[in-house]
């Protein structure tokens, strides 16, 4: 059995196991959850070391027949197909190693209903890993939805004061998107008589252009909501703010990446033609997201909400990089997904630690924290600098590659994106000043305890990774090279084809679509 099956289903087995442990023994529950997630993390590292970054095709494949659906001309096999390639490897490993940290970070604020929390957490991990690993459309959708329900409960049960509003909003937004995606997915499977992702890639051009367009947008909508791209971003601020710290870390670290991963996998890789045709739409939305998210963040008085809004801005970079459709842009975007997971995850951890001590997240309730919590201040400044893209730390590499790639495609939107870097520095440093420095005006803050060894232990691995990516990004970039180079080449080819097609009256586009249309109307 492939390693991927274990990685995907070990959390699920763990969840079932934990469900049978006594609910009162929280210590045992925490240890069990930590054990399971660590085991998965070890598997993830094994996967990492055995993964060959120079190969474009998926590795460690695991394929079994699942069921068939009679559709159109014949039976379409739906398969249980897992595999990992350069697009997904970073996210898979990120998910596996972030999880033990999430479990550890739950210590302070998850004190009631601990068992249920870990069960949902592990179910969610299985869902997320399944999303990144599945190579079959229906299987992908399956895991996509499986990862959804746990967050409903995680935010809804263990969340903040306005958690009910936030959960419902988040749930409605995402399910609306994913059901539209389901319709598009069925149309795609129907049109091409296959639900095998690797088979479909490269064959979507056979569909009529109009069909391609609406299927592409039905996918794009679901992922755009998940990312979230600009007009759909409002659920994120609420969900992030109300989620418990561990939930926020998971949300920022992995869940949002499902959206950007989907855009890359099902937007660009599956529909390169459409991605080329409509890249400007996403460039605009990405660039606007960067600037708008930054402005939103500047206006926040709630520290956690500020971090949430900064997510919108940072993910704008990822979208921008992806739809620049150039090699550095895409590679930078994939790296930036990881960077965002690390930096924003750290930020949420830091906010959570502060909240546990002061029970407030309002910026004006802080100030001068650095004098009572010096260690905390060090980590905070480090994280802020990483998030703002200081050279030598991870954010810089990703943002630089994205902007370089975007400049190649569209200097205008690259320029807009650069302003986002500046604004990002502004709101992050502003927040730092208001939290850490200045006079210690609030008496309640004078007796705050500094972070303890456990909290440092949680953050240290993430910080190490931040530095590692900043100093030696090739360790990570190399793993993605094979797949992403091939993808970039394909997109480039598609762009050339389209330009040539336009030059000679779109003959190349019309000819094949005419025959497929003929088949459609049998």
């Amino acid at each position: 059995m492939s390693m991927l099956v274990w990685i995907t289903f070990l959390p699920l087995l763990g969840a079932i196991g934990i469900a049978f442990l006594p609910a009162t023994n929280t210590r045992l529950l925490r240890q069990a959850a930590l054990g399971v997630t660590s085991l998965v993390a070890v598997l993830g590292l094994f996967l990492w070391s055995s993964f060959d970054g120079s190969i474009a095709e998926p590795q460690h494949g695991f394929v079994r027949d699942w069921f068939t659906v009679a559709l159109g001309a014949g039976d379409v096999p739906i398969r249980f197909a897992l595999g990992v390639d350069g697009i997904s490897i970073l996210l898979v490993v990120l998910t596996t190693i972030l999880m033990p940290i999430v479990v550890l970070s739950s210590h302070g604020h998850i004190e009631h209903r601990v068992k249920e929390f870990f069960v949902w957490l592990l179910v969610m991990q299985a869902g997320m890993l399944g999303v990144f690993l599945s190579l079959d459309l229906v299987l992908f959708y399956f895991f996509w939805e499986v990862s959804l329900v746990p967050l409903y409960f995680i935010v809804g049960i263990w969340g903040g004061e306005r958690r009910l509003y936030a959960t419902i909003k988040f749930f409605l937004y995402t399910v609306a998107g994913s059901l539209v995606m389901l319709v598009g997915m069925i149309a795609l499977i129907y049109g091409l008589q296959s639900s095998d992702l690797m088979d479909l890639i490269g064959r979507t051009g056979e569909l009529p252009v109009a069909t391609q367009t609406w299927i592409f947008f039905s996918f794009a909508l679901a992922f755009a909501i998940k990312v979230p791209v600009l007009p759909f971003h409002t659920w994120l601020a609420d969900a992030h703010t109300e989620a418990p710290t561990s939930g926020s870390v998971l949300l920022a670290g992995v869940l949002l990446k499902m959206g950007t991963y989907g855009l890359l996998r099902f937007g660009i890789q599956l529909f390169p033609g459409m991605a080329v045709s409509y890249s400007s739409v996403f460039l605009v939305l990405g660039a606007l997201g960067i600037v708008y998210g930054a402005f939103l963040a500047m206006a926040q008085t709630d520290l956690k909400r500020l971090v949430a809004c900064s997510s919108v801005s940072h993910l704008g970079f990822v979208v921008l990089g992806l739809f620049a459709l150039t090699e550095p842009g895409i590679r930078g975007a994939v790296l930036q997904m990881v960077n965002h997971g690390l930096s924003t995850g750290l930020l949420f951890l830091l906010v959570g630690m502060l909240y546990e001590r002061t029970h407030t997240r309002m910026l004006d309730r802080f100030g001068g924290i650095a004098t009572v919590m010096p260690l905390y201040a060090i980590f905070f400044v480090f994280t802020v600098l990483s998030s703002a893209g200081l050279p030598g730390l991870n954010g810089f590499v990703g943002e630089y590659m994205i902007l370089a790639g975007t400049f190649e495609a569209s200097p205008l939107w690259a320029a807009v994106g650069v302003t986002g870097v500046i604004f990002g520095a502004v709101y992050l440093l502003m927040a730092t000043r208001r939290v850490l420095f200045g006079a210690l005006v609030h008496d309640a803050n004078k007796k705050l305890a500094d972070i303890n060894a456990r909290e440092i232990g949680i953050m240290l691995p993430l910080c190490v990774l931040c530095i590692w990516i900043g100093v030696q990004p090739n360790t990570f970039l190399d793993k993605t090279a094979g797949s992403l180079d091939a993808l970039a080449k394909r997109v480039e080819q598609e762009r050339i084809d389209q330009e040539r097609g336009q030059a000679i009256g779109r003959i190349e586009f019309d000819a094949p679509s005419a025959t497929t249309e003929g088949e459609e109307s049998r």
Partner: protein, 511 residues
């Protein structure tokens, strides 16, 4: 003579049920209403025997059906599929009745008798090609349901439910009979097969011939009959009785109405539409008309699911919410009928099977919850999740299934329905259905929200282990049937249904 007995053997399940109903009634008389649990067990045993006979029958039947009782009864896999699920749901409903604390004081023997009578009606309804027997089956089912709906004699709401049900039912049965009489007048036969295709010398005129001569009477007749079915499965605009009756009737009865009765109605609807428009050998001129009926059904499906879901949004009572949700689900199933292909029919059948699972569960939860709190509004569910975790988590599974999310059978059923509808060129309907699923998510998860996300209110701790056990089993089935898609007998069974109706082995393009 032996042939005669052999023919009777084909309706052995029905005969067993009839004998069971008489036995139950007589025993209750002799016991004068005491020892009601024994009657329940006897019912279960009888149902088990019926189920066993049906399974035997399923094994013996080939792809094609066979007729018995002078052509009145048609035994095929399509009918047997529904009979199996009727028996299954009946068994669960019987268990509900036995375990429901609220049902103890009333004449329990008659309760079982009427339930069995209703399922005999459903049995004949799903296994006949003859409109007369279909009507008789439907009436038997309906009459038993009317009495069951008013079973709580002292309760005003129960009486109101029964009265509303019987008035609506009488009206729609009249409408349907009128349609049947028109069909008989047009074709000279009550046999659906002959209506679809009348060979020389059969003395009947096929509907296609009449349609060519003059389409309007045919259209009126078909639509009138469809209206009768639409009432039975509560499709808009014949749904008005549903919420009131579901709310007023005793909850186990509601369960049966929402599950067994509705599925039987759908079975008859599918058979009717299939025999007239889709069977191999149906005259060509009527097939195009069938597509228009399909379009009509598609519009009805869209309106039904939308109205059902929107109305469910505003319900404070869980029972009423489930009633509206069952209207919405009728809309989903109708998608399968509207696609007018064998895949669509199979999808509708599979979805109905899934619907059995999840709705039995949801109503079982309602019974449990009414037993605990004595109320049925969603707000009183507060904190239920932490006091009765097994039941509550089971309910979450049912809610997830009803919404149509993986990994449950509800998702799988919806997936197949969507496939079939897209295959039939009804992409717009699928989009509407997808939007509806989002709407339904909102009110289904209000229940989950109430159970888990709000703080508990003090409640009398009362546990019903039996009921909890059943719910747990149903929840496991709901998940496993969704996951077990790869080696799923259910899918296979559902696929064989339309084949036995001799629906074209289609591809949509050929029409």
């Amino acid at each position: 003579m032996n042939a005669y007995i052999e023919q009777m053997g084909l309706i052995a399940p029905e005969l067993v049920l009839t004998a069971l109903s008489l036995f139950v009634l007589t025993w209750d008389l002799l016991k004068k209403g005491r020892n009601s649990d024994h009657i329940g067990y006897a019912t279960l045993v009888g149902l088990a025997v019926t189920g066993w006979l049906l399974l035997q029958q399923w094994g013996m039947l080939g792809d094609k059906g066979t007729q018995t009782a002078f052509g009145m009864v048609t035994i095929d896999r399509f009918g047997t599929f529904f009979k199996l699920f009727t028996v299954g749901s009946m068994a669960v409903v019987t268990l509900f009745v036995m375990l429901d604390k609220n049902e103890r004081k009333h004449g329990i023997g008659e309760y079982y008798f009427l339930l069995i009578g209703a399922s005999i009606g459903a049995f004949f309804m799903v296994s006949t090609n003859n409109l007369l027997l279909l009507m008789l089956g439907l009436e038997l089912l309906s009459l038993a349901s009317y009495s069951l709906a008013g079973f709580h004699k002292g309760s005003k709401r129960s009486a109101e439910a029964a009265l509303k049900y019987i008035v609506f039912g009488g009206l729609s049965a009249g409408v349907m009979l009128y349609g049947i009489s028109l069909l008989y007048g047009l074709t000279g036969t009550l046999d659906l097969g002959l209506m679809g295709h009348a060979p020389e010398g059969s003395g009947a005129v096929s509907l296609a011939t009449q349609f060519d001569a003059s389409p309007i009477p045919v259209a009126i007749a078909v639509v009138l009959v469809l209206a009768g079915f639409a009432y039975k499965v509560s499709v808009v605009p014949f749904h008005f009785w549903t919420p009131d009756v579901y709310e007023g009737a005793p909850t186990p009865v509601t369960t049966f109405l929402a599950v067994g009765s509705k599925a039987a109605g759908f079975a008859a609807l599918l058979r009717f539409v299939g025999a007239l428009f889709l069977t191999d050998g149906v005259d060509a001129s009527i097939v195009a008309y069938g597509d228009r009926i399909g379009f009509l059904l598609a519009i009805l499906a869209a309106i039904t699911m939308t109205l059902g879901n929107l109305s469910a949004l505003r319900q404070g009572s869980l029972k009423r919410m489930l009633a509206y949700s069952s209207i919405a689900h009728a809309g989903y199933v109708l998608m399968g009928a509207a696609s007018m292909t064998s895949e669509g029919f199979a999808a509708a059948m599979f979805y109905l099977a899934a619907y059995y699972c999840m709705n039995l569960g949801a109503f079982g939860f309602l019974i449990y919850f009414e037993g605990v709190t004595g109320k049925d509004d969603i707000d009183s569910l507060k904190g239920m999740g932490w006091r009765h975790p097994v039941v509550a988590w089971s309910m979450v599974v049912f809610l997830v299934a009803l919404t149509g999310l993986p990994p449950t059978v509800g998702f799988y059923g919806k997936l197949i329905l969507f496939y079939a509808a897209i295959d039939a060129g009804l992409a717009w309907l699928v989009i509407i259905a997808a939007i509806n699923s989002v709407i339904s998510l909102f009110y289904y998860f209000r229940v989950a929200k109430s159970m888990f996300l709000t703080e508990p209110v003090p409640q009398v701790p009362m546990r019903q282990h039996g009921l909890a056990g059943i719910l747990c089993v149903l929840a496991v089935v709901t998940v496993l049937a969704g996951l077990g898609a790869f080696k799923d007998p259910l899918r296979g069974w559902a696929d064989e249904g339309p084949a036995s109706l001799e629906i074209y082995a289609t591809d949509a393009g050929s029409r």
